[in-house]
């Protein structure tokens, strides 16, 4: 009688087999799996029992397939715009290729798609690659914004005693959820059209600027003009107030409007 496999070894082996990119028949013969349990034992039904319909490797493939499918599903849940742009089949192909190239390494699946925009950038055969990368950046930013740490919004009352000279040098931190994206395609409008079920065409190239942030547990997207984007980016980069405002242009009314909105939306936090 063959010696039983201890649970810890069985678990490690199962993990290797399930996460292997190929089918179980190949996976059980891989080096990592074989060092734990010999493939011959597996194929003989000594580890995973066969049943009347399925061989041991067929049964393992259920888990292997489900593992990839769940990861693809996780990506799909965060990238509905990308799926719309690509179509379901192409999206699944992209997502499967991604999870093979960037296997899940963290217990928190919210981090799974962290490199998806870069992955798209490197797919030289991918049609509309630049647009898709920008769209993925926007949707990734939305996911990141949702999961970013909490922070108390700026209370302007606490700045009442700040002198004009001090304002020039003041650094006002931005909210941890704030993501600022400069894109080569107007992806925010495209994404909104997808949400509105307007079946948008893929947009033409045009520079676009978007702030993504969370307020009251909701993720918001704000299209910005370039000066506003540059100003907010400078603040987010920790530049002092007066220096950041050098990007703002000459319209005091406009600048006042920006800051009123940004403050009300909680984009600034206590210095």
């Amino acid at each position: 009688m063959t010696e039983a496999v201890d649970l810890a070894t069985l678990q490690r082996w199962m993990s290797h087999v399930v996460r292997h990119p190929k089918v179980a028949e190949t996976a059980v013969k891989s080096g990592a799996a074989r060092t734990l349990i010999r493939a011959r034992r597996v194929l003989a039904g000594d580890v995973v029992l066969p049943n009347e319909r399925m061989q041991p490797t067929d049964r393992l493939d259920v888990y292997g397939g489900a593992y990839i499918a769940r990861l693809v599903g996780v990506i799909r849940s965060d990238f509905p715009g990308l799926e719309h742009a690509l179509g379901e089949d192409a999206f699944c192909g992209l997502a499967e290729a991604y999870v093979q190239a960037y296997p899940s390494r963290h217990p928190n699946l919210n981090q799974l798609a962290h490199a998806l925009p870069d992955f798209i950038s490197k797919r030289t055969h991918q049609p509309r690659r630049a647009f898709l990368r920008d769209l993925a950046r926007l949707e990734l930013a939305m996911s990141e914004a949702f999961h970013a740490p909490q922070a108390a919004a700026l209370d302007p009352g606490s700045l009442g005693a700040v002198t004009p000279e001090e304002w020039e040098h003041l650094v006002i931190p931005t909210h941890p959820s704030l993501r600022l994206l400069a894109t080569s395609y107007p992806v925010n409008g495209y994404l909104q059209a997808v949400f509105d079920e307007r079946e948008p065409d893929l947009p033409k190239r045009a520079n676009s600027y978007v702030a993504v942030y969370r307020k009251d547990y909701r993720v918001w997207r704000l299209t910005l003009e370039k000066p506003a984007f540059a100003t907010l980016s400078a603040l987010a980069n920790g530049e002092p107030f007066a220096r950041a405002l050098q990007h703002a242009g000459d319209s005091a009314d406009q600048v006042g409007h920006w800051f009123q909105g940004w403050t009300a939306d909680g984009l600034f936090i206590q210095p």
Binding site: A69, D216, A228, Q246, A252, Q254, W262
Partner: protein, 119 residues
């Protein structure tokens, strides 16, 4: 400091103080909310869900962020059991006082309004 620079700085400072008084974002008319993303993400990524098929689609499964976080439970059906569930949709809607979105059906559950920026 140059006069115009001083004017811009003053305007920015005034905007910050007015931002409090406004209570609601004046940017809101130009802003879109993605509620669907919120409910999905609220469920996704929990260890309890990992590899088992996402979050449950029961009425309370997606209500509120906190109720999903950490104890959303799992379903043995497909991952997207949250997606498109009425119980999940429309929880956030648009900000109160948001003139751009208030009262519009398009805000409910689909992510608010997309209004071109007019700066």
């Amino acid at each position: 400091m140059k006069k115009n620079t001083s004017t811009i700085l003053s305007a920015a400072v005034a905007g910050i103080f007015l931002g409090t008084a406004a209570g609601c974002g004046t940017n809101s008319a130009n802003t879109s909310v993605h509620d669907v993303n919120v409910e999905k993400n609220a469920c996704k990524g929990m260890n309890s869900c990992k590899g088992k098929g996402g979050c449950k689609s029961g009425d309370n499964g997606c209500k509120g962020v906190n109720s999903c976080k950490g104890h959303g439970g799992c379903a043995t059906v497909e991952h997207h059991s949250c997606k498109g569930e009425n119980s999940c949709k429309g929880l956030g809607g648009c900000k109160s006082g948001n003139n751009g979105c208030a009262g519009k059906n398009s805000c409910k559950g689909q992510g608010g309004c997309a209004v071109p920026v007019k700066h």
